[in-house]
Amino acid sequence: MLSVERVTKCYGNLTALEDISLDLAQGVYGLLAPNGAGKSTLMKMLATLLFPTKGRILWDGEEIVAMGERYRGLLGYLPQDFGYYPNSTPRQFMRYAAALQKIPRAETDRRISRLLELVGLPDAADRKLKRLSGGMLQRVGIAVAMLNDPRLLILDEPTAGLDPGERVRFRNMIHSLAEDRIVILSTHIVSDIETIAGRIIMLRDHRLLCCDTPTQICGRFRGKIFQLPADAQIRPHQHVLSEGQGENGTVLRVLSEMPPEDGVAVAPSLEDAFLAIYALKREGA
């Protein structure tokens, strides 16, 4: 189990994260927050690239920095900006990654073939990485992160650059992988995690806002989300969350404590909850 105990991270006078405490067991955790909220800082601390200014991070009760290689051997990490050697092929690059992960040479090629199959890239295994599309590169990145069969998989904005088909395939893959490991994926795209994350971690003002199931988070806004025609008058206590296309033209999704005139109550989605939480914050509500 991974425990984050009262972790604070400061860069000089700037506090990027403050007093974060989390306990993570097996399953998929979605780290959801707007850009600049500290998602990558938290991910990098979990990947031992950054060190907490205060607090500590434990794996099964042992501090991860002290565990060193033993911890990193359990870890798979895909950074937000996946780097690669442009003149290598996916197979060559993964062989290097396998050497870094201390995977026995005899086992390396078998694992690489299996993972390239899993991410749907068996035909691109021997093409130069610089010739692959953004989505294909991202899939190579996921395969690299999975190379050591990690017990903790950290994926920082893994769906960036993926097309809708690839996103669905990715979600299915993550869902199947999470059965026996902790998967933490950060994103600001709600639909990426809505269906697969068992728990959603939300950050606000550099602090932990919640670590709840999507149902619990949406539940906070039950009876407060309404759909209105686009030409409806918005009252001061109402907050427009989004605009979309309804059966009879453009409609607004509105957060309101009181049912508005012409408003139809709708079940809150995770996106509504996300927008509501951060819209309210922006408006100082």
Partner: protein
Amino acid sequence: MRLIAFEMKKVVCFPALWTFLMLSLVLNGLLILGNDDVRNYFDTEKDDSGAIMGAPENVFEGYDTGVLASFYADIVRESPTAADWIRKKYSLLQPRAEQLAKSGAALDHYAGKATYESHQLLFGILMRATLVEGSICAMLVILYLMGYEQLNRTEGQVCASCKGRRLWMTKLAAAMLSAEALYVLLAGMTLAFYLGRWDYGGIWGDSVSSRFNYLTDMLYKRPFLTWHDFTVGGYLAASLSLGAGLVAVFGLLAAVCAMLLRNVYAAALVLGTVLFGGIGLGSLFSQCRVWAAYFVMTLQPSAVWLDVNVWFTESGIAAFIPWQETVAVALNLAVCSMAVCVMFRRFMRRDLS
């Protein structure tokens, strides 16, 4: 071992390095070909011992190093400590002069009247060129490998892997091995071309302190007094070996800059400034006659490189202690190795952006 091979493969696939190596070999070739007139002289003189009239003179017999001591002590007279060091050095050299006189080193023919020119070409020009080329290769390789992950944005993935940040020690080992291999290649090919054109047959066993060899420093000409009995072959082997050490020093210096600054271009800039600035500072201190500071400057790697043609000799004003170039290389190796260890420890606990 697998990772060292991977890292060395990155070096092999670095096109700028091979371009530099090719240009260096072309330059060395031109240096050799440009001295063909000296070669003709060398060919005539080297086997022409009979043509030298009179009995060979043993220049070390009765040689008094006190003359040299007085000359150089007078130059550094502003600093009594420096003058003492100089006098001490030359007093230690006196038994060497006596030993060379006894062994008859001066009676060896070497290359006859062409000795000075051929010796300067091999050790003053070619060795100096090979050393600077090898050192640049070493610094290039180190900076390239140390900054490779940053340039390819793979640093985060690498540092989060099982091997983690310790990969940079593997990189250093691979880079140093590559740098030394490149130096051997450069020196080997340059020497092969040189010795293919210059016939050193029958010379290798002659003493490098032959009466035909001499040193000139501040217009002061004196015999080639070395701290050990060197044959021509032995002197070349010793110079090449110490050169390998100096290449390692430059490599480690580059590693320190790369790990300190974490930016390849900034590291290259600082490295260039330190090396060229060090040479300039040495000249400045000698001009200003600040001899204690000048002495410290003679220990820096670029100063050792500049004096390659007088290595293992008393070296005049360029050295304050016996075997100074060897001591300087050993000292630099020790200091740079310690600095690398400190930088590495710092890197292990440093935040990566």
